[in-house]
Amino acid sequence: MTSKVYVALRVKATPERAFAAFTDEIGEWWRASPLFETTPRPGTLSFEPGPEGRLIETRAGGKVFEIGRIRAWEPPGRLVFSWRQANFPLDLHTEVEVRFEAVGEETRVSIEHRGFDQVPAGSAARHRFPDAVLLARLAEYWQSQIRSLGGRVTR
């Protein structure tokens, strides 16, 4: 078993639009956070789309960091990718699953981030937080990302 953080919010868009915005436009709505920094100096996130694709971060100098690889690419309902921050141990890959479900005229966007408790004690990625606090902050982080996505799709 691994830890799970699950959050969901509704956005005012179809699943198709929400999926497209999540993947094609992530660089437009993604908000870097000092608590969960993927790289020491934030760059721009983008997906290389498709089942063999990746989630990458391109830094100001052009250097590319691979956050994760696509594990499931099923538009418009589901997307799974691995998640590794630069401050993780090299062999640690956590997993993020995003689902898009139509609810009336809205879409429920849910995110489940699995395995974050495997970040080892003492890692800078933990900020010295005990598990419960770390996972609560991670939940808030993902909520704020979905909220930002929601702002993007309703413009």
């Binding site: 830890s3 699950y6 919010l9 408790d117 598990d131 909520q143």
Partner: protein
């Protein structure tokens, strides 16, 4: 933080909170919007939304917090749910999910139709739908109660 949070929020305690999340979704249409589980799959924290309100579904995290199922079925607090949809359909959905209906939907003197039910761990929930406009004078005349704070 969530995108909003009510000023009042109830934490409802269960022995098996993960089962409660599923049950409350089936019975009431509550929507899970946050769940945190530790490495053993135990629920650490969860929140469910309904309309413009939310509850936390929690576990018996200290000796002071108990599910009714652990203390002889008694409750000391109860959550009241206000709906703007048909209360009979709401009640039938709850019953089908396994709620024990303690009081069937019935019109109350204040103009709401309400029903009351008990979930598998013993929490009692009251559900109401406003169906009639009733003035304070009418309500006082009907019951003999003195009512303050009813505009």
């Amino acid at each position: 933080m969530a995108d909003w949070r009510g000023a009042l929020m109830s934490a409802v305690v269960y022995r098996d909170p993960k089962a409660a999340l599923k049950f409350l979704e089936a019975a009431f249409g509550f929507e899970l919007f946050m769940l945190i589980e530790d490495g053993e799959g135990n629920l650490v924290h969860s929140e469910m939304r309904f309309g413009n309100a939310a509850i936390m579904v929690g576990y018996e995290w200290s000796d002071d917090y108990r599910s009714p199922a652990s203390i002889g079925g008694k409750v000391t607090q109860s959550v009241a749910i206000g709906i703007d949809t048909d209360i009979r359909a709401h009640c039938e959905r709850a019953r089908a999910a396994g709620m024990e209906i303690l009081a069937e939907p019935e019109l109350q003197f204040y103009g709401d139709s309400t029903y009351r039910c008990r979930d598998p761990e013993g929490h009692i929930w009251t559900v109401s739908q406003a169906v009639q406009a009733v003035s304070r004078e009418e309500a006082e005349a009907a019951t003999g109660l003195k009512i303050t704070g009813w505009v």
